[in-house]
Chain length 205, copies 2
Amino acid sequence: MADGYHHGNLRTAVLARAAEVIERDGPYTFSLRSLAADLGVSHTAPRYHFGSREGVLNALATEGFTELAARLRANREADGGFLESGVEYVRFATERPAHFQVMFAPTLLDEDDPELAAARGEAFGELRSGVASVSEAGRRVEDPAAGVVAGWAIVHGIATLALSGNLDSSGVRALLGDADLSTVTRRSAGLLFAAPEPPPTPDRE
Amino acid sequence: MADGYHHGNLRTAVLARAAEVIERDGPYTFSLRSLAADLGVSHTAPRYHFGSREGVLNALATEGFTELAARLRANREADGGFLESGVEYVRFATERPAHFQVMFAPTLLDEDDPELAAARGEAFGELRSGVASVSEAGRRVEDPAAGVVAGWAIVHGIATLALSGNLDSSGVRALLGDADLSTVTRRSAGLLFAAPEPPPTPDRE
DNA sequence: GGTGGAAACTTTTCGGTGTATAGTTCAGCG
DNA sequence: CGCTGAACTATACACCGAAAAGTTTCCACC
């Protein structure tokens, strides 16, 4: 495969290296040329596989949505419950920070890419069906639509704040005794859907 | 002031134009040179005021944190309550999308800038004191630290998801009957801290 | 065992971009 | 009138994404 002229596995190598670089420096300074130099190929070689810089980011986002969907599906099939789906969402963000950043930065992507749209649709489907299970569980959600938004927003908020370092730098994280992020997620998102313990049963019809 | 050679108000003009451009195309393609061309000055003129491209973004973030702090303080002094502080947070994000994006993208900023640190500290202080009022109100928060994280995360999550267009594109927003974002915020974040009694916001249809 | 073609790269070239440094304009002031 | 500092320009350089044309290698087919 790798004969000195043909890299042999350039597409995979580019994606892996791109994720590393973006994880370290963010998506702004991400450069196709320096990436190609790292991999020992000419600076136009990645272009053959991805078409453009945007193409690399699209591929990264697609990869990310596919993996996120798989994780959420696995959790659902293991009957992990909504809260654990949320924890998984945050875990994915911290384990694949580059993917996560790119996935939710539409100005970096070509939204017309059908593969990206398919992968995203799959992930969003898992998200909705995960949240739907909460409504079925019949907690205290008299406003299921708001519950969906609240559930997604709280885990997405924790993920983005943690990734951007604002949870630590704000001193908020320290309030929790430096618990790991999964614990933080459980304790925080748990407030949303957990039935209040002392108070009486909320008014149901 | 403006004599054809000296612009007269370049610093302000650069910040205003930068916000426009970033609001439209995001912070990644933001270019000092095209911005200078728009304003009719040489491409190195902005550098005199900001030192570097990063300097412009830092100034934008500083401006943003200062305004956010002021908004939160005004709400607190008007006794708006935590939920309305959250609504104000989201409103700020949608009204100053460029500022908001830059403020929470540390890879775009020079974190050593003392002015930025001061403005951010001020805003975070307001945030914490706003959330602290909830604990004092003694709702059902037996885990106040988690409440702080949850409160911030849910409004930050709504803001980022809305700004990135993911609330609409996912179809989640439509579930709420296309309510405006402040209403979405109240209904969603309201689930977090709402006591069994209906909150001051009337939510009747 | 050669031949055609496609896949995977390289080379070259172009315009755009941030940064650095030296030079220019202009208002205010002694 | 001449000096000085603030605000801006001109020039130069290295890097970058994109485009187009050329090169290498493999492989399927005859």
